[in-house]
Amino acid sequence: MLLKQMNILLADDDTDDCMFFKEALKELYLPTDLTAVNDGEQLMQLLTNDTTELPHVIFLDLNMPRKNGFECLSEIKLNAKLNGIPVIIFSTSFEHETVNQLHKSGAMYYIRKPSQFSQFKSLIQQSLEFIAQAITEQPDRDNFVLKALDK
């Protein structure tokens, strides 16, 4: 269980997935504050706007209009102010080479959007617990992809 309020920033253009995410957080009873943006441009604007508080974690979809997840990740990692924020990739697709590339680019975890809501909840819980434990070191390639515990 998380002890303190966690600010989560979700970048996903899919309203259903945003809804699933919100619903999952609600059902998990986690003290979180979720902000959702619908494309990469919005994400980067929000992050580089000095007035907003920086999130504890970013959930990043790959396939987004205007600016995709890959571009956002590399911009975040090149920005000294932002590169300490853990970025968790949250995508429908799952291709080995893509996953490898994202691991190299410095993403914290990779979550393949699951088909069961229970898995959805499980994966969000897992990832938030890792973040809450302040594990800031990137895991090795074998543990980069998070898998749902129950099936």
Binding site: D14, T92, S93, S115, Q116, F117
Partner: protein, 461 residues
């Protein structure tokens, strides 16, 4: 030399005999002169006797006297004549003395010549010896020449044999040349035939080239159409994932949150819907994998096979644990492969082995690799001189009947109903496609309940 000597000696003897004869002659004349002198003295005495008688008779014979005086005058003349003759004889004697001296001189000259001749003789003897020495040397030289001559004769004999050998070889060569000429004519004839055929082939070739171009055009068109189709498959499969996942998620939310509002039949139908959606997800995943194999660039790189197997083992960790499977793969070495495709290949083969494992015994998967010559494999698709990388994946699962060994690699071909073993029938088609991308072959060997072995051969370089 001896002869010359002898003739000189003979001449000397004759000259000496002549000198002796002249001395005797001179002695005889001197004796005769003495006798003539005595005669003249006697005649003088006679004349005085007669003068006395005459004085007596003088008076008688004054006349006679006068006559006698006349005769005396005549005698004086005669005497004078004799004196003159005497003087002449003395002159001749003096001449003889001179001649004698001359002879003595000649004699001395002859003796000198004889001495010279002796010297000349000695010289000749010396020269003779020299000539004998030279003759001896010439004999030695002669012997040497004889020896050399014999050697030369031997060599000549040897050369003669060699010559005969060469003649024989020459004859053989001529025979062969004759055979070659015949063979040459045959070849020339064959050549002409070949040229005729070549001309025919050129025509046929042009026709084929034209057909080829047409085919290439069509192939290019087909290739473009194929790529478009594969791209379409990829994009559509990829985009199908999202709505399908939504259906599944909503379905699971309804089953979870609306459970108490659903009848048992409603719940069952939702579960069936979940299963159908699950199969569709698997199908889309497999189609995506299959189209990716055909659309991505083929980049070969030297890759550690052990690493690939380790990666696949990590990905299949849960399944391996569920089946209590052991995977024996050590020292697989490096191979020149398209790494991401080969990982997919290994993933499909190993997950296949896990899926079709025998429930009655722990699953054992053995993976081996080696380099092997094509000639050792006995497969007409492999060239016998080339070296191949042989990778074997063997399991102890349920296996299949031998006559299915080709069919299992065809797309959508399955041996079991989806109720017993889930699957799309694409996995092994992908495996075969990947092996073909590596210019290799894959052979499946199995018997029912006796496990399955997959042997992959692809060029090592």
């Amino acid at each position: 030399m001896a002869k010359i000597n002898k003739s000189v000696e003979d001449e000397l003897i004759i000259a000496r005999q002549e000198l002796a004869f002249q001395k005797v002659e001179k002695g005889k004349r001197a004796a005769e002169l003495g006798i003539a002198n005595i005669e003249l003295v006697f005649q003088d005495e006679e004349k005085e006797k007669r003068a006395a008688e005459l004085i007596i008779a003088n008076k008688e014979v004054v006349f006679q006297n006068k006559e006698k005086e006349d005769r005396a005058a005549e005698l004086i003349i005669a005497n004078k004549e004799l004196l003159f003759q005497n003087k002449e004889k003395e002159m001749r004697a003096a001449e003889l003395i001179i001649a004698n001296k001359e002879l003595l001189f000649q004699n001395k000259e002859k003796e000198m010549r004889a001495a010279e001749l002796i010297i000349a003789n000695k010289e000749l003897v010396f020269q003779n010896k020299e000539k004998e020495n030279r003759a001896a040397e010439l004999i030695i030289a002669n012997k040497e020449l004889l020896f050399q001559n014999e050697e030369k004769e031997k060599r000549a004999a040897e050369l003669s044999i060699a010559n005969e050998e060469l003649i024989f070889q020459n004859e053989e060569k001529e025979k062969r040349a004759a055979e070659l000429i015949i063979a040459n004519k045959e070849l020339a004839f064959q050549n002409e035939e070949k040229e005729k055929r070549a001309a025919e082939l050129i025509i046929a070739n042009k026709e084929l080239a034209f057909q080829n171009e047409e085919k290439e055009k069509r192939a290019a068109e087909l290739s473009i159409a194929n790529k478009e189709l594969l791209a379409f498959t990829y994009v559509s499969s990829h985009d199908l994932q999202e709505p399908l996942r939504k259906i599944q998620t909503f379905c699971s939310i309804i089953l979870e949150n609306e459970n108490e509002n659903l009848t048992e039949n409603g719940k069952y139908n939702f579960q069936r819907m979940q299963l159908a959606a699950g199969r569709m997800q698997q199908l889309i995943d497999d189609l995506l994998a299959f189209s990716r194999i055909n659309t991505t660039e083929l980049v070969f790189e030297k890759t550690d096979l052990n690493l690939i197997v380790e990666e696949v083992k990590t990905e299949l960790k849960e399944s391996i644990q569920d089946k209590h499977a052991t995977i024996a793969a050590t020292k697989l070495g490096f191979a020149n492969i398209i790494a991401f495709q080969f990982r997919q290949l290994m993933y499909n083969l190993i997950s296949n082995a896990l899926k079709f494992s025998n429930p009655d015994k722990p699953t054992k998967i053995i993976i081996k690799s080696r380099i092997v010559k094509g000639s050792e494999i006995n497969n007409n698709k492999l060239s016998s001189e080339k070296e191949y990388c042989h990778i074997m994946v063997k399991d102890n699962g349920i296996g299949f009947e031998p006559h299915f060994s080709e069919r299992i690699f065809e797309v959508f071909q399955k041996l079991h109903s989806k109720e017993v073993y889930s699957g799309t029938g694409i996995g092994l088609a992908i495996v075969k496609k990947i092996v073909e991308n590596h210019n290799g072959i894959i052979i499946a060997t199995s018997e029912l309940d006796k496990g399955a072995t997959f042997d992959i051969y692809f060029p090592a370089n």
